[in-house]
Amino acid sequence: MDEKDKFKLIHKSMFNLEENQNSEINEDIIKRTYYMLKKIRSVEERIAEEYPYNEIRCPTHLSIGQEGVPAAISTLVNDHDYFVSTHRGHAHYLAKGGDLNKMIAEIYGKTTGCAGGKGGSMHLIDKQKGFMGTSAIVGNSIPLGVGLALSNKLKKKNSISCIFIGDGAIEEGVFYESLNFAVLKNLPVVFICENNLYSVYSPLSVRQPEGRSINLLAKAIGANVAHADGNNVLESRKVLKEIITKIKTCESGPWFIEFDTYRWREHCGYQFDNHLGYRDENEYLAWKKRDPLELFKKNNQVLIDYGKIDKFIESEIEEAFRKSKTDPFPEKSEAYQKLYAE
């Protein structure tokens, strides 16, 4: 794959999106989408700032650069829909309406955290919001998302289950097993693959055959598929909206969407790591030019007062960190509680 192809971003989805001129991209949607986009970015940057102080003491995987897809879907789902996600799950948790204070407190290991300090950054949960957990094991949450969809189908609920994965999960056997079953049972589930080209330091080129498309693999298993630019938030939203509508209204069965995107910082931790040489600085800069946040602002300049939203987000973040730092740690006896449900 030459450099040009590598950076080619595919703007057209693989299926025929019906053009909807009356698309309800209104000011409210723009505002809410921007809010989530900026919120994820700012939260992650604040974590990066705080991380060197060694008060955050758990493996932490930041979503900086990959905010586009979570922001795009945040205005398309409700509390009855389910999300499951991965080690890099902060963005999905926030996009599903997960409580910021509880997330930051969890990362700090505090009793007020969403998992009482037992899970940390890689195990976020907000059942009330339909956020059914993240897993530190690549591919682990895929079948859970399919099981949630099975449950919805059996209970005849008109809700969807969204499974967030990366390109690495495509190499896990459980991905094929899960997608096969989802297709077999025509389940209301969306596999959302954020392809950021790397699994830790290993590029796609050492993991998957050159030129083979991830979404076409999924298509061969029988899923409906789409492919879109994950850094173009409104395009991603349009693709997602159409697919979610199809699943909810015409029982279209499972969908697999591949979104191209890029992680800016190191796999795990707060630093930049391009100097290690596993990826090219130019590649990083090329993707940075396609920053989902800046692109969004450029394309929606006249509509909103970004400064006002930014200020609100800053105050939310300030409050979350202030609280989390001063909140108490759990009692030591908590370590021995809640092994079994009563």
């Binding site: 682990n140 079948p143 859970l144 289950s161 079953f181 809640k338 079994y340």
Partner: protein
Amino acid sequence: MKNITFANSINEAIKVAMSIDKNVICYGLGATDPKGIFGTTVGLEEKFGSERVFDMPTSENAMTGVAIGASISGMKTIMTHQRLDFFLLAMDQIVNSAAKMHYMFNGELNVPLTVRLILGRGWGQGPTHSQNLQSWFAHIPGLKVVMPSSAEDAKGLLLSSIFDPNPVIFLEHRWLHNSSSEVPDGDYRIPLGKAKKIKEGNDFTIVSMSYLTAEALIAAKYLKQFGIEVDLIDLRSIKPLDIDTIVSSLSKTGRILVLDTGASTCSVASDIISKLSTKCFSYFKDSPCILTMPDIPEPTSFELTKGFYIRAADIANEILQKLKIENANPYKDIPEPDPHDIPGEWFKGPF
């Protein structure tokens, strides 16, 4: 109350569970095929419909995850595998997800999942079709492990497992499927985590599990003619383990033999001895003993498996030696049946 087989008792427990709770679903490879997993799932699809009872792709890992996903959103899932060995493909889901979710999400989620695994020995099952890995599962915090030894217990323990809010590994010994006993009707439950005293005696404690309880009963009957009365405890649950019942028996007899259908190292049997040694060392009148499978895979050949399994004679012999009773020849008096590799005449193979 009626006299039915272990396999029918399992079938009845699932029927009862599915009748009283519409959120119970049941699936597994072969669950709806004509043989219905040794008869244990026969008739379920007809009665409860193919949405709730279905066959599955040969995808043990994902289908375990699917069961977990369904279970955290209100379903109660019964999943079955015809051999425990195939379930080894699902270790990620059972260990990293099912066992952990309640704890690591601080009680937000719970996983009411029952995984029925059939294990056994004999008929050339060999290295990869005969593993008894109860100690693996018991080692994982968050799982419960159940091993019934009779038709009655199979029903009572399975119903409790299905309605337990936690993941339960339910281990059925294939050699018990055709054994029968009186089984209460309806929603009959036996609490998990409590052992059952099968026989009362003051001379020697035998702790047993699953099929070995049947062998232990033969040994106990044989030992009686030497004036030896054994206290026979059937564990029922491997985890939680009812150590109190064992401690109380040891305080009476001072002598103990623990049986285990699995391999020796890190076995349930060795763990029980370890617990007793740290908890109540002064109760021992003699060094404790265990009888387990050796630390090698099970061979396949008919000849290679002769004398390979734990038998009543081995159990009797161990106790006779400990009590220094001479002039007894259990290997002659209660020899290994011929053929040795099947549970009884009813069994015509293949498994």
